[in-house]
Amino acid sequence: MNRKRLLLLNGSPRKAKTSYVFARTIKHLAEKKGHKAEIIHIIEYFDEEKHFDALKDIILPQDILGLITPLYVDTLPYPVIWFLEKLSCDLAGELKGKEFFAVAQCGFPDADLLHPLLESCRYFAKAVEMRWLGGLGYGGGALIDGTPLEKLGRKGKKIISAFTSALDDIVEGKNISPSAQGLLTAKIPKILYRPLAAFLNYRKKREAYLQGVSDADLTRKTYLENYKL
């Protein structure tokens, strides 16, 4: 078997939440198959807790890089774009020829929302001449909220199956097959949007009430207070 080295980049500023849970699962699955995998947190480089210059030595021995990230305002979070810009400026030579994939997750259960983000990952790969193996999108990441997938029952098993299937392709240098995405996709019928909105609003207002925040406070127009035309 051809042992591969994978570097998993956690794109979330929250180091122990859903993106990390996904990265950790992919790492374990890769190790179970005899590959080497490590996780780094982009936010530690953004916050200068770790030196970006040290990345060169980390990246050089890797065969495959994978970005695991949440969706922020319809695309990659600011620190992730900063990181990719810096990689393409400073380490394009080191990245050239390696393989790249991405796993993205968003709060709302609709993986279609992740399309612009995954496309940006593909364009990054092209820009630095990495080989794009494809992306996976998971809608509903907020509900996982850092819970280990093994503790999520059927839902967790499905996600693990999707990652296992994707990893089989990734370590062989193949494009991730659509069946892996199929295992991750669960769409809420549009007819349920109104009751869902009502439920979410009830929950948010109750959470606010319990913290002593009224409906009026919740909808405050802070930046119009004291504003004069």
């Binding site: 979330s12 500023p13 929250r14 936010i43 953004f46 949440p70 922020y72 305002v73 319809d74 695309t75 990659l76 979070p77 600011y78 620190p79 774009i81 900063w82 990719l84 810009e85 709302f108 929302l113 399309h115 612009p116 496309e119 940006s120 990952c121 593909r122 364009y123 990054f124 092209k126 820009a127 549009k190 949007y193 109104r194 869902l196 909105a197 979410l200 609003n201 948010k204 207002k205 959470e207 606010a208 913290q211 925040v213 406070d217 919740l218 909808t219 405050r220 127009k221 802070t222 930046y223 119009l224 504003y227 035309l229």
Partner: protein, 184 residues
């Protein structure tokens, strides 16, 4: 129409020049923010701006300056180099924090589950300057701008230019689009 310009270019650029020329000719007043020169901390997704401090980030940076211009304004213009078929990090640092333009509640509009706007409906004009121009990059950029506008329930337009476009063309295009965008 009150305008707020968020300029994510690192240096002076043709789009900024053309836009300022045009707005001067039209006699429009506007707020202009050169994002590279502003201290905007990254959104940590801490959720404090939802309940603990509704509509306001709890970290101290220059966002309030931008928000005081945007909240009463009707049109937001975002200028950015196209990076990997999307926005540059300079623009995204602000955009990630513009979630305070919407409420932490939900509404259903035209079959979409969305957050209601906190400061009413506005218009968004996104202007990108293409770089490598990889096939499909422009479409992704336009889709991203459309998604942003949908999520904030703004009307929107997108313009894309190349580094070789003459200033007069840029001015004409922006002028045409400014006449079309109206707050939703």
């Amino acid at each position: 129409m009150s305008l707020v310009i968020l300029d994510a270019f690192d240096t002076e650029n043709l789009i900024e020049k053309a836009l300022k020329n045009l707005l001067q000719k039209r006699g429009e007043t506007f707020f202009y923010f050169k994002l590279k020169e502003m201290k905007i901390l990254a959104c940590r997704s801490c959720g404090a701006c939802e309940i603990k401090s509704p509509g306001k980030c709890v970290f101290h940076d220059d966002m309030p300056e931008i928000m005081r211009a945007i909240a009463p304004g009707s049109l937001i213009l975002m200028l950015t180099p196209v990076r990997f078929g999307g926005y540059s990090s300079q623009l995204k640092k602000v955009l990630d924090k513009l979630m305070i333009l919407v409420l932490p509640l939900y509404t259903v509009e035209d079959g979409h589950l969305l957050h209601p706007p906190r400061y009413g409906k506005k218009s968004l004009l996104v202007i990108g300057l293409t770089g490598q121009n990889l096939p499909g990059e422009e479409e992704n950029f336009r889709l991203l701008a459309a998604r942003n506008a949908l999520n904030m329930q703004f009307t929107h337009k997108t313009l894309l230019f190349t580094p070789t476009d003459p200033m007069v063309k840029i001015e004409q295009e922006i002028d045409r689009v400014l006449c079309e965008v109206k707050p939703g």
